[in-house]
Amino acid sequence: MEVLHNLAFGFSHALTMNNLMYCAIGCTVGTLVGLLPGLGPLATISILLPLTYSIPTGGALIMLAGIYYGAQYGDSVSAITMKIPHASSIVACIDGYAMTLKGQTGLALFTAGVSSFIGGTVAIIVLAWFAPMLGEVAFLFGPADYCALMMVGFVCVSFVTTGSLLNGLSMCMIGVLLGQIGTDVNSGVQRFTMDLPFLADGIGVVSIALGCFGIAEITKNLDARTERSPFNGKINLMPTWSEFKRIIPSALRGSAVGSFLGILPGGGPTIAQFVAYALDKKVSKYKHLIGTGVIEGVAGQAAADEAAARTSFIPLMSIGIPENAVMALMLAAFIIKGIQPGPNMIANHPDLFWGLVASMWVGNVFLLVLNVPLVRYWLSVFKIPYNVLFPCILFFCCIGTYSLNNNMDDIFVTAVFGFIGYMFMRLDLDAAPLMLGFILGPMLEENFRRALLLSRGSFGIFVQRPISGSLFGLIALFLVWQVVIFFLKSRKNKIPMLAIPPHEAEA
């Protein structure tokens, strides 16, 4: 009952004229930018974050959330119609594009739109029930537990996003070190500023995000030099009743998977859609057809994608710890607006919390309207040549960076991180863990120093407390498991080499 009352309170905020407008703008702009080749949700939020500076806090957060799940939607449209994958829509390319090749683009888009709506709705119910509960648990957390939780986040994100734990962890640590640049809040000492005054407040999160995701993505697309021909096929959106009935079970399965995986550290839309797709391949009535372009191959993963995008807000809003890079950027946006997410947020800013939750459902309705009946108009975005598009994106990057502090020096910093981000991309090092490390770095240091102060310098505090002890135990088990796998793999590779006779090996 209390949840329903809180949701009604949230809707009273979300349904004001201003908030409806911000939600609609966020969904529309997010979908529009998400459709563009090479720009995933992370790059979209980075580019559009500055748009929210002059907007009231509640509206800004609603708009940013709209941009995020709008970009998720936009991604799936470009994946289905033109096989342009982003990290958040790789699975949509498999059956979605296969349906396009079979002339069923309309059905694929309808399936993705309706499934995303179902996924989003289920996830909002989970969010409304679970976030306040987890918020109460978060009051039990001490500084050592927060440190352990952040380390779990680093390990999970490193493993999930890059596939290589070492590469991911190194990026996290670089991010943490970059977060140290600026004035130390405890002693007032300026660290690693190279006596440059504009670095006294640290490096701006927008500069790093735009450099590593915006500029680096633009350059990568320019390197590819592939001019994609726009989609010109016919779109028949209305499915038959039997086709519609096939969407529901897969979408519900995907919603459950996405809602669960979205909450876990390192989880989020990417891993959720893979798991939902694999689950449909195991249990669906049409499992033998999945991969050839069927409804079940699109519905489950689309629902999981959208559900995970929403439930990944739970750890951020209830504990204050983002579980992936997109949420880290959302945390930065909260902080820019003067709000510290965490257990106190629900108690101190119920209007913001419940307004945001309710606006997610309103945004869901907007996206259903934008992406199902109006999808054919969105596809005209692809008619804009990339040679026209990229100077415009660069312009928004410059304006966004400058408008943060009204300082041109920030653009030079963005340029430097553009180069660094591009080099990382070419070295196959994902910048997402760096982003997480950068945003969590100062929090990690603060909690680390506080924990050691409480324990009078004893590291035992990290293993003696039940929560931090369990979490560090899990990390240790995971690391041991990774080392075992590495040795097993290298042994497996050695055996066939040994099996080759010496004269053949020489030949």
Partner: protein, 128 residues
């Protein structure tokens, strides 16, 4: 490894204190040490995996970074309208084809957008 050394050695300039009263240099020194250890593991691992050539297109990234820097520099010295025009003409050098006419149209569009941001959304941009 270079990054870890850069931060690690620099952190020695600050007070490290002890674990119960950590100074500003302690945490960066610890993180740098961890990064160094991870980097060392990556170097050792690289000996056991096949080599992959680095796919690097230096021209495009140099042009894009150059256009950003030119935008900032010209905006500081002259004004932002000149910065926008210069950025457009420079950045499009990285495109698949180059057209003066198209660049003029893009520049006009972006300058109009900048005026919209200043006069309608109330942003503070040094346009002229």
């Amino acid at each position: 490894m270079a990054i870890s050394l850069l931060f690690g050695l620099s952190s020695m300039r600050y007070q490290t204190g002890d674990f119960s009263r950590a100074g500003p240099g302690l945490f960066p020194a610890l993180v740098s040490s961890m990064l160094f250890a991870i980097a060392l593991s990556i170097v050792v691992r690289s000996r056991f995996v096949p080599k992959i050539p680095l796919d690097l297109h230096v021209k495009n990234i140099v042009v894009i970074i150059g256009s950003l820097c030119a935008f900032a520099a010209v905006s500081m010295v002259v004004n932002m309208i000149a910065g926008i025009v210069l950025m457009t003409f420079l950045a499009t050098l990285a495109g698949s084809n180059y057209s003066w006419k198209r660049n003029i149209k893009i520049s006009i569009g972006l300058v109009l957008m900048a005026f919209f941001l200043v006069h309608i959304l109330g942003m503070n941009l040094p346009l002229y």
